[in-house]
């Protein structure tokens, strides 16, 4: 079952995972190129991305920066995983590290604690933003609601596959 494949405590086929990560890296590079391409394509100014205003200029720089960062991250991901695939000794070491149950538990707990912290930070943000901006308050409330929904969805999914 695909749920078990995704969330189960299966051992990791590291070569397959490296190849998948290289594909993800290529995806990052495409997304980065798309972000940069969008800035060039919309340089003339559109209703959605008016580059003639200050906001437009900021957004153009923002998207360029985002695109370059994504492309760099994608390239780094590809180079790193290609290195693993080319060196069997390094690949074996990586396989042990990624399959290690303690490392996996630490990884899971890191995500869990980060999740709790995120919830708390969002809640504090909501409390404070009420005095500053209603827009920010509504946005933060939407984020916390979506976050709670995702949490619930994962609880249901994990209950089914464990």
């Amino acid at each position: 079952m695909w749920l078990n494949q995704l969330f189960g405590n299966n051992s990791i086929d590291i070569a397959k995972r490296c190849r998948t990560r290289m594909k993800v890296g290529a995806g990052f590079m495409v997304l980065g190129a798309a972000a940069i391409g969008m800035v060039f394509l919309l340089k003339g100014g559109t209703p959605a991305l008016d580059l003639n205003t200050d906001v437009g200029e900021f957004i153009s720089e923002y998207y360029t920066g985002l695109g370059v960062a994504l492309m760099a991250a994608g390239a780094a991901l590809i180079i790193k995983n290609r290195r693993y695939l080319k060196n069997p000794q390094l690949l074996k070491k990586r396989e042990v590290a990624e399959n290690d149950e303690r490392n996996r538990l630490i990884g899971l707990r890191c995500w869990a604690y980060t999740g709790y912290a995120m919830f708390l930070v969002l809640y504090i943000g909501i409390l404070i933003s009420g005095f500053i901006s209603i827009t920010v308050l509504v946005v933060l409330q939407a984020v916390i609601a979506i976050y709670a929904l995702i949490l619930l969805a994962f609880r249901i999914l994990l209950n089914r596959c464990m």
Binding site: V96, A97, N99, D100, E101, R102, N103
Partner: protein, 65 residues
């Protein structure tokens, strides 16, 4: 949960690295197990017991409470 990994390892003059390689974990995991900071999963406990040629309960000592 206490365990006798360090005791058995030293008795047989096995390095932490070799034990880690044999059971497919990192050396850090063996260190954490020996220090009692981490409790092994049933799967890892079984692999360690099999490596030493013993039963799980001979290596991992369950303490009630």
């Amino acid at each position: 949960m206490k365990n006798r990994i360090q005791e058995l390892r030293k008795e047989l003059k096995i390095r932490q690295e070799d034990l880690a390689d044999a059971v497919g974990v990192t050396r850090q995991t063996i260190i954490s197990l020996e220090n009692g900071k981490y409790n092994a999963s049933l799967q890892l406990a079984y692999k360690i017991a099999r490596y030493f040629g013993k039963q799980i309960e001979d290596i991992f000592l369950f303490e009630e409470g």
